[in-house]
Symmetry: C2
Subunit: 455 residues, 2 copies
């Protein structure tokens, strides 16, 4: 993706690098602060430690905050460690509170406390409040820097209020209207504010049917609402509808990315793929727990086949088709699993009953099983010229695909029922379960066909 | 996710339904048009055909357009078919052009032409232009309804211009500044416009370092930029920097959702999971192509094992561990694959060389292989009291995990190199490939250990 770097053009980088070399703080600041904070962050994180320290001296904590928000969480941690604590605390207080909370959540309790102690009281208070909320809830991603106004202001007064609040607030494109108890009463977009007659009162133009989320709502659900309703910000309320904060669309894009990455890594049985592995040890640490569980499940499969050792001793050819049958069970199971997990995640299972989903998966299993089964009968017959062997493998594939497809769909549904995130049922997990099922079916069938197979 | 329906409360639904029953158009319109368009869409799509026809009469094409944009693409298609063509064409012309194009892209050419013929000329022209762009590019998701102003206006003039344009434009929160040739010269956010002194000129306050995307840019890349830079809208330009349109954040959220779903379904070897399957036939149609390919790959594995039939005849116990070894190869391969695909998608591979990624995966394979291998030696020895069998299976697992991990990482990298979307290398695909590799390793080892195994 080379084009995304177009903005961080060489000219810019060279100019800045030269200014740093010459210790020309003014030229550096002029050019650097003109760039988008994301581009500043990209430049900064590539610098050596010595240069970073030079730049801490060149940039105010406030300027650093603006850039800092655009860094990965791991890089943020690294930089915080090397910064002067007073500078760091000052910078944290200048960040949007929700972004500051995101980093602080990664640090030790004692370190957080020490930052909060040196920080100015107002910012510390704001951050403390947000730190209470559980991770991945609306509360944990909301910001308290929003614009709210009373309903009895005129449009003109509201606009003046807004001009005053604009530099501080995280977004000014939705203005939330509250009653005297600070309960959420309505919302008005800046667009409507601009179009409306200056002398009207806010309550005459505001929308009093406000969509809001509860502070304990899951962030994935918040993302879904934001996407469905095309909002740029959503108000967060407590159970008495007091306005606590807002969630802005830019934070929701990060949530969507995180959740997508999460589901994806779970399907592949890797824990936490969001943070990048810098060495094989951290990569192995994330994958080994799964591999070891799967290894023992695989041992179960092995011991199951062990029970049929006599059968295998008599008809060695049976072993040839074990991976084929187990593999097909795994493949169809993974497909059914992914579809079910996705249906649950997007809420599509609400529209139709679970029974209907199961019936459809059973139907899908029968169709795919019949077609693959017939193909296998044909291929095995052409290859081994043994109609019974063909029938055995074909019927096994048929039965296996039906059961494995159903298993792939049922496992996440059952997990969802018991409030376990269905996405933890990974592809490799369902594959290994289906290995077991398929081998049971295959050797069960083989016992039936035994008399026709021994030569 | 029941909470997301909280806004479509029962009271609202009952009231509306009653109004419809009583054929009380006015009460219906009052309440219905007060709801968020997304809630209207949710209500509408649940109605029977007869009621839908009643509502086409109650709602103007413009009102229908606002609601229609919030429906799934399949539902949109269904409704277009049943609508009066003149009403449909009128509605399409009232939709945001990018949304209209999304539906039209799903229809037959002849049908599109017939709509465009009855539509008013200006809208038809706009839509025709957008229809040119290739799917999944910036051009295909951009809208031409944006606000642009010349650089020499004063802030006050710009605000007046904005008030006039606001009802039509898809967003007014970024105003794009163009030169006399309509080339993109700068951008100013509505926030900055509001804060700025009324008498200043636009070119004095605008940001002339505008981040823009090329009209042929991939939509996934656009989404990444929007997310990184926290924009609410991105300008789309041709190669001469002429401003062609803008992409708004709400459309990008849909893109992110679509792309995540896409990557996810590819990992699970299901084509196109975005559209919901209504019956087992459509589900089977999406999964069968993959299953059949995998079936033939599985046959390859089977024929490979067939070559070792003599070995199996002598040592039947060997068959017991085939699924374990093949399974572990599949599991580790899927993990490595997912990590590599994700790294490529997020552009993390830019930061480090491919060699480094491969070296890290090799290291990961050695670590996980060594640990799992040792475990296996132990377990197999305790179970079968046969140290040679334990060593055979353990060493095979060790070697297999290294090779399979590398294969999982290499396949997507090679595909990326040849400009094939690495996400098409699905979990089941890599699993089946790794089955082959692992069996080769296992029986290769078995040949070495043969003399110690025959009892």
């Amino acid at each position: 993706m080379p084009e995304s770097n177009q903005n961080l053009d060489n000219e810019f980088v060279e100019y800045i690098q030269k200014a740093i070399e010459n210790e020309d703080m003014q030229s550096f600041r002029e050019e650097f602060l003109d760039a988008h904070p994301y581009d500043r962050a990209k430049f900064f994180i590539k610098q050596r430690r010595k240069i970073r320290f030079q730049l801490y001296a060149y940039l105010s904590p406030e300027e650093m905050a603006e850039m800092f928000e655009n860094l990965d969480i791991e890089d943020q941690e690294k930089l915080l460690e090397e910064m002067d604590p007073a500078y760091a605390a000052d910078m944290l207080s200048k960040m949007y509170a929700d972004d500051a909370v995101d980093v602080l959540n990664e640090l030790d309790k004692s370190q957080v406390v020490s930052y909060l102690t040196i920080m100015d009281d107002e910012a510390a208070q704001e951050i403390k409040e947000l730190l209470h909320y559980e991770e991945k809830t609306a509360g944990s991603i909301m910001t308290t820097e929003f614009v709210n106004i009373p309903a009895n202001l005129s449009i003109r007064e509201a606009m003046n209020h807004l001009k005053h609040e604009a530099p501080e607030a995280e977004t000014i494109y939705y203005i939330f209207v509250t009653d005297e108890d600070l309960r959420l009463a309505g919302v008005i977009s800046l667009r409507d504010l601009i179009i409306a007659d200056d002398d009207l009162k806010i309550h005459e133009v505001m929308n009093d049917r406000v969509v809001s989320v509860s502070v304990s709502e899951d962030q994935e659900e918040v993302a879904k609402m934001m996407k469905d309703y095309d909002f740029l910000a959503l108000p967060v309320v407590d159970f008495q509808k007091h306005l606590l904060g807002i969630i802005t669309v830019d934070d929701i894009m990060d949530v969507m990315d995180e959740e997508a990455s999460d589901d994806y890594s779970k399907l592949a049985a890797v824990s936490d793929m969001v943070t990048v592995d810098r060495n094989p040890f951290s990569a192995a640490r994330k994958r080994l727990p799964w591999l070891i569980i799967l290894l023992f499940l695989g041992m179960l499969t092995a011991s199951l086949i062990g029970r049929f050792e006599d059968t295998l001793d008599k008809v060695a050819i049976l072993a040839v088709f074990i991976p084929l049958i187990a593999g097909m069970a795994g493949n169809t199971g993974t497909q059914a699993l992914a579809v079910a997990v996705r249906n649950i995640a997007t809420g599509d299972t609400e529209h139709e009953s679970k029974m209907k989903l199961i019936a459809r998966e059973a139907g899908t299993g029968i169709i795919t099983g019949a077609i693959c089964g017939l193909l296998v009968v044909l291929v095995v017959y052409l290859w081994h010229h043994d109609v019974y062997l063909g029938l055995l493998v074909g019927i096994s594939i048929f039965a296996t695909l039906i059961v494995a497809t159903l298993a792939g769909a049922l496992v996440p549904l059952v997990m969802h029922k018991f409030n376990i995130d269905p996405a933890v049922a990974s592809g490799p997990f369902i594959t290994t379960i289906n290995d077991l099922i398929s081998i049971l079916i295959y050797f069960g069938m083989a016992t039936v066909f035994m008399q026709y197979l021994t030569r």
